[in-house]
Symmetry: C2
Amino acid sequence: MLSDIEIANAATLRPIRDVAAETLGIDEDHLVPYGHYKAKVDIGYLASLADRPMGRLILMTALSPTPPGEGKTTTTVGLTDALFGLGHKSMACLREPSMGPVFGMKGGAAGGGYSQVVPMTDINLHFTGDFAAIAAANNLLSALIDNHIHHGNELDIDVRSVTWKRVLDMNDRALRDTTVALGGYGNGFPRSEGFDIVVASELMAIFCLTESWGDLKRRIGDIVIGYNRAGNPVTARELDAHGAMSVLLRDALAPNLVQTLEGAPAFVHGGPFANIAHGCSSVMATRAGLRLADYVVTEAGFGADLGAEKFVDIKCRKSGLRPDLAVVVATVRALKYHGGVALADLGTEDLGAVERGMANLRRHLHNIRHVYGVRCVVAVNRFPTDTTAEIDKVVELVAAEGVQAYPATHFADGGAGALELAKGVLQALDEPSPYEFSFTYPDELPLTEKVEAVATKLYGARQVTWDSKARRRLQRFERDGFADLPVCIAKTQYSFSTDASLVGAPSGHELHVREVRLSAGAGFVVAVCGEIMTMPGLPRDPAARRIDLADDGTILGLS
Amino acid sequence: MLSDIEIANAATLRPIRDVAAETLGIDEDHLVPYGHYKAKVDIGYLASLADRPMGRLILMTALSPTPPGEGKTTTTVGLTDALFGLGHKSMACLREPSMGPVFGMKGGAAGGGYSQVVPMTDINLHFTGDFAAIAAANNLLSALIDNHIHHGNELDIDVRSVTWKRVLDMNDRALRDTTVALGGYGNGFPRSEGFDIVVASELMAIFCLTESWGDLKRRIGDIVIGYNRAGNPVTARELDAHGAMSVLLRDALAPNLVQTLEGAPAFVHGGPFANIAHGCSSVMATRAGLRLADYVVTEAGFGADLGAEKFVDIKCRKSGLRPDLAVVVATVRALKYHGGVALADLGTEDLGAVERGMANLRRHLHNIRHVYGVRCVVAVNRFPTDTTAEIDKVVELVAAEGVQAYPATHFADGGAGALELAKGVLQALDEPSPYEFSFTYPDELPLTEKVEAVATKLYGARQVTWDSKARRRLQRFERDGFADLPVCIAKTQYSFSTDASLVGAPSGHELHVREVRLSAGAGFVVAVCGEIMTMPGLPRDPAARRIDLADDGTILGLS
């Protein structure tokens, strides 16, 4: 089979204005083109659709993934294409890839095989400049903070307390821990500083939770950048930074329209991490999609304990959006992994391991239905090494949970490979849901108890323990008026616990909160459990070394 | 009179595809639109024009400016509009503004009054993402350098010798002097580092001197990032960085087409500093303009001692382009300033000061004609405080030099205010030039003598003195095979000397070279004379505080 970039480069794309007109009924006047195959949809036009009925929202999530991932983006595209092929007005809402992994190890993130969004190289690189805009706005605030301190520090900012970090869209470990403003009088007051990757920034989370230009500015104004020496929070608003930062994000806030390889429309917009942030594409895009299409398929990062939980408890809570159905991506490989098989041996048939690994999927299915109150089906994303016996076993085990599982081959076959899945989804949506949507915890629960609710209800943890500094900080957040915020738990995606090696469905473990962070603009409190990387590094032999530009402009080596 | 942004916001823009088709004969298929009013012109299409005859190239330069500037960009637009209004195929080639000054003190740089390029807010902010692309490519190289060192340092890079700096398009003094890779084993080997503003980067200079994708990759490969412990240069090519960096600049390399307020076409592409770099917009844009239009007006940064010298000795030398005529912007204000009047008093009539200040303009006129061998006219950019007697005096003084001066009111009146200037330009171009184009020095002159040639022939300096470290470094450059490169002198724009307060036409001074830097990819050696800021700071009350976004998306407060 061809590589992702070979498939993408060989595709004949339709002009995006034709895709917009024919699939979504959007007139060219409402598009802001970025080349011929990408466009932003005008925010004023989207606002004019407010009275339209909303389509059905399908949440793509997964069991706890293996390191290579289980194909959520690919399945989102495959299902969208299958629904599109069946004659429905469907569209995908995806996250924008970060350039960091593109030049590192993981490569791009625009789907794979015959289930991709295109133009693939554009989407994986600068795309429409959203991440650059977020970085610029973020770093303007940083410059204004240090400038304020330099010019007299009227707000009495305690330089030791500044939590707002600079960002780049790059895997650059050398920037994790730095010192800035060295060099004497002219350069300001030295302080320790670190850079995060753009996708780990609060501003990215704000961008993805924002509903309008006005809302954007309000949220940015609410950002707490650190504390003054009296111990009170200092906001971006007090620095008069929120106006200019919003100006830098003005155009970026419009959702980006592209197409799948099969010509279905897709919004690719925003891309926050699913640990330190909430891991979902933008509310702007999801809401726009629901006004424009009958079926919107959107993914949330990592497994259902992280991405889907935050989709529900953060994105849905903030926006009022509600999923009509969840599709849980499972793979034979991941089930075997959770059944105790080593990564290197996942290609060998092992029905016993599949059965043992089902414990992981079982708990996710329980959480989705009985905690979030969302009905679901399972998509078994088929890999070439899977045997028929293994696939049958998964379907059987899932059925025993009262859930339908649909093997799908969209990676190799495009939308045609996900037709049964699509029909299953449509059938499920036709029936009334037996569940009632619910958050994991109410707003008014104390912050500590919110974390406990997630840990005990969803992760199977026995209890939550706290670093004493984290607990004090949490008390400060509550004192400062942030007690009502939801929590965003940053932990490994590989396990329900904080120990990546505890596969399956561990129970009775402790969730230790090492650190807490306030994202006052985004509107959540992050509980960091374990080591969470907010600035990745490059591997010994980074992909950047093989990425090349031919003299005729062809991009080579991007994966 | 309305402010620049009020004028720009009130303008009715034509779709850029119509401007491209009607003014330059470019079919929509060859445009890569960025919204409806900006487009890149396809590089393949531009290459197909290679056989077309070239238009006339008009270089816009100036006398030594006052701090607020004399209106070179504005006059470039005004003259282009006047030629356009006279029915000629004219176009402007301008530099892209940096966002740093937009949020600092200076504001935007897209012309002013009724001589602007539009869309003004777009051009002054992210525009088509070129600067973000340059920053990303620049910082990818930085990440690869530190990553290489972290993973074993096979090339034996001496961490003390790394000259390649990270960049941001931001005025951020806190990043001038930093330490990176702190924090222990996982974060690499600590070293001191600094960030430059994007426009001060070598990559920006490379971008602006590049002729094609292949040339871009070759130049990037040639970048010397520092030295190994044996003292030999280490290049970006040895780090396998040049391919991926070129990929990041692939799309950016196509010139950006916009329009003037009067509907004339303009390329706005690239924007290197005129001290640390060569201060001219891209060769790609200039060459494309000359294939597409009969008259191309392009500006070079600062006064003719800096911008025009580098236009000639770097841009023309590297590209083979030749100016047909120079227009020297002079103002009554600047002449009075050079005649010894304080900035605050420039609004008061002072014919004596105008006459004394003429010494500055006189030397520039001499240099342009008798050193560069380019004929010229003078544009007197009229300000409201100028008296008729002062304007008449300038015209008379310039005429005494054998040069025609044309007062122009394009700031207030648009192209109509520059009609006489345009007619004068056309008349001059109709006659054979009495001068023969020449570089200030030949390639084969030793690097020290190249600096001496510029200093003595153009600046009126008596001699050049060298910091001993600078001289040793220069010897290293010559030993490493860079003796043939032209030099790029970084000094204050306010004086022919390195002392900004020496107005007029100082003579007999010393030019002290404090430091030298190699830009092996761009292809020049920088001689730093005096303090040159490669990362500006924000003022006490930065413009960012007043820039705002209205709920309806209107951008306010940008100047």
